[in-house]
């Protein structure tokens, strides 16, 4: 039996690696995804492009501008002079926000009269908009606090010049500590997710196609007249891609650690073990696709309808927490969701089996069920 499996294994490897284009397709998508998510995808808002409209033009308004520039979070990219410029700068998307200092800003502040600084935000990207808004609010609040304090101190000093008593007023500052990803780099969040995506992409698709191709070009009949048994054929067809999948995990993890310096806080062995658990589901699903399709085209279409929702609803790019409750329930049916949580948990949080066991159990249940079902179907379609 093992000998026959070995033969099939060799045949599959030769077939997969013979075609130069196939070789490229095996390794190019992982590399592209990794590079794009490592280098390109950046949801951090560290240099928000703002336009500065100063209608006051006083030392105080310039001080406020200096605070914005000094915060390191804003780049002033335009200085609109009138309403039309403001409209245009936002319409074009040149600036994400326009800060407008109204006339008489300094006079009002000096007289202690409450005044406002307008922030016009391009809300197209709701996400960036709310981050930019809260950063700008912080800068202005800081400015306001400093000015208020200075004025109060000045008032006290003028009232009783001899005793420099500071006003005793409470303040509740928020001391924030961010765990796991203290610099809030989105790269640390995305790159581990790529590991999960790629292993699914590679194994599901290749398994399904490897079998359907034999059916389509008629070599399946030839295989069936050999003494090989269905279980051996199945193992021979899936094991090569399991090996490719695990190699991909090692490869991507190494690149993540060495090139992107993603922290790996948990155990690499656990990661590999969980990858193997996930592989059961993804190879099983590949087998299943091969039993429902007669042509490669059908297999590809089926794969597309299978893996795109799995990708979109895995929490990879869009947090599951934000989805409508009904869709959140739907994500429990998605094995990739569990694997995504495991991968991120191991990389970023450094958690182990004690925390991740529910996800691991889910993967085992999925893997066994899917494999058993597909194996049964596969058996039947062969006969």
């Amino acid at each position: 039996m093992w000998e026959r499996i070995g033969v099939i294994l060799r045949k599959e490897f030769i077939q997969a690696l013979r075609d130069p284009r196939m070789r490229v397709l095996l390794f190019l998508p992982p590399v592209i995804q990794l590079l794009v998510f490592g280098f390109a995808v950046n949801m951090d808002v560290d240099h928000a492009r703002i336009a500065w409209m100063d209608m006051d033009r006083t030392p105080m308004s310039r001080e406020l501008r200096a605070r914005f520039e000094g915060s390191g979070r804003f780049d002033i990219v335009a200085l609109p002079a009138n309403e039309q410029d403001v409209q245009e700068v936002l319409d074009r998307g040149d600036a994400q926000a326009v800060i407008r200092v109204l006339p008489d800003f300094e006079r009002d502040v000096r007289r202690g009269r409450p005044t406002q600084v307008q922030i016009l935000i391009d809300g197209t990207n709701s996400n960036t908009a709310s981050i930019v808004g809260s950063y700008a609010g912080q800068v202005i609040a800081g400015f306001s606090g400093a000015v208020t304090l200075a004025q109060q101190n000045a008032r006290i000093l003028t009232r009783s010049p001899a005793s420099p008593v500071a006003l005793m007023l409470p303040s509740v500052p928020a001391k924030t500590r961010v765990w796991f990803n203290p610099d809030l780099h989105s790269r640390n969040y995305f790159v581990p997710g790529v590991v999960a995506n790629i292993i699914m992409m590679v194994t599901l698709m290749l398994t399904a196609l490897a079998i359907v191709r034999e059916k389509e070009i008629g070599t399946m009949e030839q295989l069936m007249v050999t003494p090989i048994r269905p279980i051996e054929l199945m193992l021979g067809k899936t094991l090569p891609f399991a090996i490719v999948g695990l190699l991909d995990v090692v490869l991507i993890t190494s690149v993540a650690l060495l090139v992107f310096h993603i922290p790996m806080n948990g155990s690499p062995l656990l990661l590999l073990f969980c990858s193997a658990l996930f592989l059961m589901t993804s190879l099983g699903a590949g087998l299943f696709l091969s039993t429902i399709s007669h042509t490669q085209q059908q297999a590809m279409m089926a794969n597309f309808f299978f893996s795109t929702p799995a990708f979109m609803l895995s929490g990879f790019a869009f947090p599951i927490r934000n989805m409508p409750v009904a869709v959140q329930w739907l994500t429990y049916l998605n094995p990739l969701r569990y694997f995504m949580e495991i991968v991120r948990g191991i990389f970023l949080k450094g958690v182990g089996v004690s925390v991740l066991w529910p996800q691991m159990v889910a993967l085992v249940i999925y893997g066994v069920t899917v494999l058993a079902l597909s194996a049964a179907r596969f058996h039947k379609t062969l006969e």
Binding site: V36, N125, F318
Partner: protein, 377 residues
């Protein structure tokens, strides 16, 4: 180029499409289904952040602060705990995102007019969600701090002083800051790109694999006619998909359409022509349907999803990759869609994008024609 031969290819290809009812149904139903599913699911709105509170102080003053968090729609207080361990466990297992720790002596410090810091512990794994949560929490605490200060001044007989300089936020284009208004227009573009590439990427590879290409070769059909005819057949489906997608966006998701409908129609059509040609080019370049499909998917899905500015802003990418995005057609159509939908801007702002899409379609047409020509020779 002969109109008759062009029509013949067009009709032949339409027969191919309509004969296979299942594939046709999928080609028409899938974009709408994708839009419905993802339009609802892909939300970046952050609210009801699951939070645990560790109140070491346990006084009425600290409970007052907790009430602030409970009253905010951005936070969902999942419980009051006594210790760091439940917070640690909650964050480890993704049950909560934030822990608020009010230290012992908080009320005394506040009453004495000293600094009374509050600790926020935040799961930073998802940096984007974390920065938004951070913004909410810091704003809440800051406002509370001001409120406290005013009360104190009041009770001492001083005048309450509102903050001297206040930030007045006004949000344009998407004033409710709902991410669906941002996601759905871009999603329409991405879905169209994927469907278009999938539809055509198999069309020539299939003729080769099934051997019908030889039959086509023996006819007087010219490459340009073949490419154009095939494209037109799938264009019909693409336009139907686009129309349905836009309708779903407006009617189901309630995305405001502020710009001109004809401009949107023109942009989508030009875009469709370009990506359909691209699919044909890929199909002609590939040897087998498998390769055609993979190359088609790889060259459309990933760039459309990642490099188009659909959710990931192009301006924050490194310069090298920003340059790459210029050759991704989805980049332009995403800008067009967002501009027309949300900003309601017209052709004078968007002619550059439209022009590029037209140029792209022309170049890819020429490339596809040449590729088919090489194959025929």
């Amino acid at each position: 180029m002969s109109y008759r031969r062009l029509r013949a290819v067009f009709i032949k290809e339409l027969h191919h499409i309509t004969r296979d009812a299942l594939s046709l149904g999928m080609a028409l139903a899938v974009p709408v289904m994708m839009l419905l599913l993802y339009g609802y699911a892909l939300s970046l709105d952050v609210d009801r952040v699951p939070t645990l509170v560790y109140d070491q102080d346990g006084t009425s003053a600290s409970r007052d602060l907790v009430k602030q968090f409970q009253g905010s729609r951005f936070f969902d207080i999942r419980g009051i705990v006594d210790g760091y361990a439940p917070i640690q466990r909650g964050i480890d297992s993704n049950k909560i995102l934030m822990g608020v720790v009010i230290p012992r002596g908080y009320s005394q410090d506040a009453a004495a007019g000293r600094e009374a810091p509050v600790q926020l512990l935040l799961d930073g794994s998802d940096s984007n969600t974390a920065s938004i949560v951070l913004g909410y929490a810091e704003t809440l605490v800051r406002n509370y701090s001001l409120q406290l200060r005013n009360q104190m001044q009041n009770s001492r007989g001083g005048q309450p002083s509102p903050p001297l300089v206040d930030a007045r936020l006004r949000v344009w284009y998407n004033s409710s800051l709902e991410s669906k208004n941002y996601v759905v227009p871009g999603l329409i573009a991405v879905i169209l790109q994927i469907i278009a590439a999938l539809l055509t990427s198999l069309t020539i590879a299939r003729e080769w694999e099934m051997g019908t290409m030889e039959q086509l070769l023996s006819t007087p059909l010219r490459p340009a006619e073949m490419v154009l005819g095939k494209m037109l057949a799938y264009f019909v489906i693409g336009v139907a998909d686009a129309a349905m997608a836009v309708l779903v966006g407006i009617l189901v998701f309630g995305v405001p359409l502020r710009g001109s409908i004809p401009l949107m129609a023109v942009s989508l059509c030009v875009f469709l022509v370009g990506v359909l040609f691209w699919g044909i080019f890929v199909s002609a370049a590939a040897k087998t349907q498998l390769q055609a499909y993979q190359m088609g998917l790889l060259s459309s899905f990933l760039p459309a999803f990642l490099l188009s500015g659909f959710v990931y802003e192009i301006q924050t990418m490194p310069p090298v990759i920003q340059v790459v995005t210029y050759i991704v057609p989805a980049r332009y159509v995403v800008r067009l869609m967002k501009g027309i939908f949300l900003k309601g801007v017209g052709i004078q702002m968007l002619w550059g994008e439209l022009g590029f899409l037209a140029l792209y379609a022309t170049i890819i047409f020429l490339l596809a024609k040449r590729k088919v020509n090489q194959k025929l020779a």
